[in-house]
């Protein structure tokens, strides 16, 4: 009786921790979202091995793991889910795969957690009998998911997981169209070099994506003679004032131009960015503030970072948003996406593009292979080995130069295995409050600039629109 409150507190803390990890998202659209289901027995993959083995309705299922609840990025998962649904609808409008087999995405909420990623894959492969998997946003979950794909030999195309190791382990089943962290780090470092920055405060998240990404970036920066400091924070952190004070204090040691690079994703980045400006770390001649890439979501960005004018943000993809908007293959998707969200200014996020393309890539591979067998699908994907032999989708032409057909040479990093090499790094900048994404300027690389200028010093406007 005396210590019951202590027991209660322990239970409270445990329960809150559990609650934070628990999933359970409500499905806003009509697609089925499946949750933690027990696998009845240790069984193997049940994917049909031929078109004849498909059920009466002849439906081909493709597994799509995405985060739909905290601590994962619900916004990211929803975007990807919308994109994949559009892809499925477009394929089925033509009758389905090969014009006759309807395709059905089976979504699973992984919450960005490794254990749920594993559960997702086990369920999708052994219960839903998917022939392939496309998706995932969080590296933490992706790292676990690749293991299950490998265990069962089911092909998996990772859409937005950046951790190098996803492909560096060189599993035959695992493909990636998202950039590898190291690719991005290289771009980031070069940008800062070109802008004449001498010190970068790298603010990153304590995850399987954030830690290696920050270390990779720090290394690349050092190679180019730029010093940096890494500051780690947990996803979901709201209160950043002390960290901002600290960075503001640390920055006083350095001369010349400095930068802040926000590698944290999601709403946590908005918290940091707004509080940074409030705390005196605002964009200026001497301080380039690179907000997290989610700033591309202009409506959310301006609402959550109202004082974020002149922040720079990175866009990684087959091309800059404007270039992609010009692609024939992308136009249908972009329009459908805006419609799905009922918002004419909602340009698809990068990961929406990736989700759409990953799903379509699986469809194309099945159509090329004319088979549902895992090894045939994998072979088909590997046959897309050069731009000429590649598949043209929304972001660009997909191809995988290295794989079992062409092992990664020694002078290339191991993660180039089954990696689409095209994602390029662009830097954009907002220069007016409440701008839409399409109004921002591309400021780097130089040959992609849309406003005829690189970094816009706060207070200035581009000479040409």
């Amino acid at each position: 009786m005396k210590r019951w409150w202590l027991l209660l507190l322990t239970v409270a803390v445990l329960a809150v921790a559990l609650a934070a990890c628990r999933g359970g998202g409500a499905a806003p659209e009509t697609v089925v979202v499946t949750q933690g289901v027990q696998v009845e027995k240790e069984s193997g993959p049940c994917a049909p091995q031929s078109f004849d083995e498909l059920g009466e309705d002849g439906v081909i299922k493709i597994g799509v793991p995405v985060p739909l609840s905290a601590p994962g990025s619900v916004a990211g998962g929803r975007a990807m889910m919308t994109a994949v649904q559009i892809a499925a609808d477009q394929v089925n409008a033509k009758g389905g795969i090969l014009g006759k087999y309807p395709v059905k995405p089976i979504f699973y909420d992984t919450s960005g957690l490794p254990e749920r990623g594993t559960a997702a894959m086990e369920y999708l492969i052994t219960q839903e009998c998917v022939v392939a998997v496309a998706g995932e946003y969080h590296s933490a979950a992706g790292m676990a998911e690749k293991e299950v794909a490998h265990k069962y030999g089911i092909p998996a195309i990772f859409a937005e997981t950046w951790n190098d190791d996803i492909t560096a382990v060189q599993y035959p089943e695992v493909f990636r169209i998202a950039p590898a962290s190291s690719m991005v780090a290289k771009g980031d470092a070069q940008f800062f070099k070109d802008m004449g920055v001498s010190w970068v405060a790298i603010v990153t998240e304590n995850t399987d994506y954030g830690i290696p990404a920050s270390e990779s970036t720090q290394k690349r920066l050092a190679e180019l003679g730029i010093e940096s400091e890494i500051y780690k924070a947990d996803i979901g952190t709201q209160e950043f004032a002390a960290l901002v004070s600290r960075i503001a204090q640390d920055i006083t040691q350095y001369e010349g131009r400095k930068a802040v690079l926000v590698l944290i994703t999601g709403e946590t980045s908005y918290n940091f960015e707004q509080q940074a400006v409030e705390g005196g770390l605002e964009p200026s001649e001497d301080l380039i503030f690179v907000a997290n890439q989610v700033a591309a979501n202009a409506k959310d960005f301006w609402q959550n970072v109202p004082d974020g004018n002149y922040m720079v943000f990175r866009w990684v993809g087959g091309g800059s948003p404007f270039a992609m908007a010009q692609r024939e293959e992308a136009k249908g998707f972009i329009e459908a996406y805006k419609d799905a969200w009922n918002d004419p200014y909602r340009f698809p996020e990068r990961y929406a593009f990736e989700a759409y393309d990953a799903f379509m890539l699986v469809v194309k591979a099945i159509e090329k292979a004319q088979s549902l067998k895992a090894e045939d699908i994998i072979a088909a994907l590997e046959s897309f080995d050069s731009p000429e032999n590649g598949v043209a989708l929304a972001q660009g032409v997909y191809y995988f130069p290295y794989g079992s057909h062409n092992p990664v040479p020694d002078d290339q990093p191991a993660w180039m295995w089954h990696q689409w090499p095209e994602p390029k790094v662009f830097f954009l900048q907002y220069w007016k409050v409440d701008q839409h994404l399409e109004e921002a300027c591309v400021i780097w690389p130089a040959d992609q600039q849309t406003c005829g200028t690189d970094y816009l010093v706060p207070g200035t406007e581009p000479a040409t629109e």
Partner: protein, 331 residues
């Protein structure tokens, strides 16, 4: 090896200026005031009803969303100062109402002795409410982060030592965000109002009497059931108010209350469960310790990630010396 060791030496000792420390202190106090406000609500509920409310963070979350929605609807039709006050009042009203209704429906049976295992029951029902509110708001508001406009912008001026931009106030080299300044001030006013209420009004006295000795309060004519309802409603309202002032400072998502909840638990145990001065002091202590810890911890890489740890270390130390918390009643 040397590099690793250097990480643990305050390599830039000269960066730790008095101004820096003052800035950290100020920020810690500001956020501490809001922690105190929330903890006060939780301790009030515990002291009168004898239960720990696991839905406290969700009332914080609802308070924030109410302000957001209110401003969305009215910010173009009403003058700015009015919308701010109206939003705060709306948030307080809504959370109070939800608290009262929930208490009447689900907690009164427990207080009347109609429930077999009251402690477990209280945990389950408040937890249930928490999940319900979280997913209700997820369905209504969606997962995308929202933020309300500041209640008012600071006037832009430059008086040498003191300057202000729209977003922040700068005193010397200390820059404080406008949003949190306003939040801290409102929290302070609310705390003072609550203290006045608890110690200078009859209803407040009745709440205190009920929390000190329920049966004795009953035999002098105080209705403990009404006190339960009032305490829960007030507790929920205080959490809602904390959220209401912070929705213009932090980005708001339906699970924003989870952290607030766990922080409140720590604070009320630190201050002594059921103790009003304890929750006030506890909130300030945690706020300041977290701020100083993050700012001064030698390893810059981990300082922010360890933010919660600093508070918990103090918490553990206090409990080792005084298991009932700073102002805790003897068990």
């Amino acid at each position: 090896m040397v590099a690793t060791l250097l990480h643990f030496v305050p390599a830039q000792m000269w960066l730790i200026t008095p101004e820096f420390i003052l800035r950290l202190l100020a920020e810690g106090l500001l956020i501490g005031l809001i922690y105190s406000l929330m903890a006060l609500g939780l301790t009030l509920i515990f002291s009168v009803l004898g239960i720990v409310s696991f839905s406290h963070g969700e009332f914080y979350m609802i308070g924030g969303y109410v302000v957001y929605l209110f401003l969305q609807k009215f910010q173009n039709s009403l003058p700015r100062a009015l919308t701010g006050i109206g939003a705060l009042l709306a948030a307080m009203l809504v959370t109070f109402a939800i608290g009262v209704v929930f208490e009447r429906l689900f907690l009164q049976p427990m207080a009347r002795g109609e429930v077999d295992r009251p402690n477990e029951y209280a945990i389950l029902t408040t937890f249930g409410l928490a999940f319900f509110l979280q997913y209700l708001m997820l369905g209504l508001m969606g997962p995308f982060p929202k933020k309300a406009r500041r209640f008012f912008d600071l006037p832009v001026f430059d008086a040498g030592l003191i300057q202000a931009t729209k977003a922040s106030l700068k005193i010397g080299n200390i820059t404080l965000g406008a949003g949190r300044l306003i939040a801290g001030l409102i929290a302070l006013l609310a705390l003072l109002a609550m203290l006045y209420f608890m110690f200078k009004t009859w209803t407040g006295r009745a709440l205190q009497a009920t929390s000190q000795d329920r049966q004795a309060a009953a035999v002098v004519g105080i209705n403990p059931m009404n006190m339960n309802t009032l305490a829960f409603g007030l507790g929920a309202m205080l959490a809602g108010l904390a959220g209401a002032v912070l929705v213009s400072v932090y980005s708001w998502v339906p699970w924003v209350g989870v952290i607030a909840s766990s922080k409140s638990f720590v604070i009320i145990v630190l201050g002594g469960m059921g103790s009003i001065p304890g929750s006030l002091l506890g909130g300030l202590i945690i706020g300041v310790v977290e701020s100083l810890g993050t700012g001064l911890f030698p390893d810059p890489v981990r300082a922010q990630a360890y933010r919660d740890v600093f508070g918990l270390v103090i918490f553990a130390l206090v409990l080792l010396v005084k298991p009932t918390g700073l102002f805790g009643r003897k068990l």
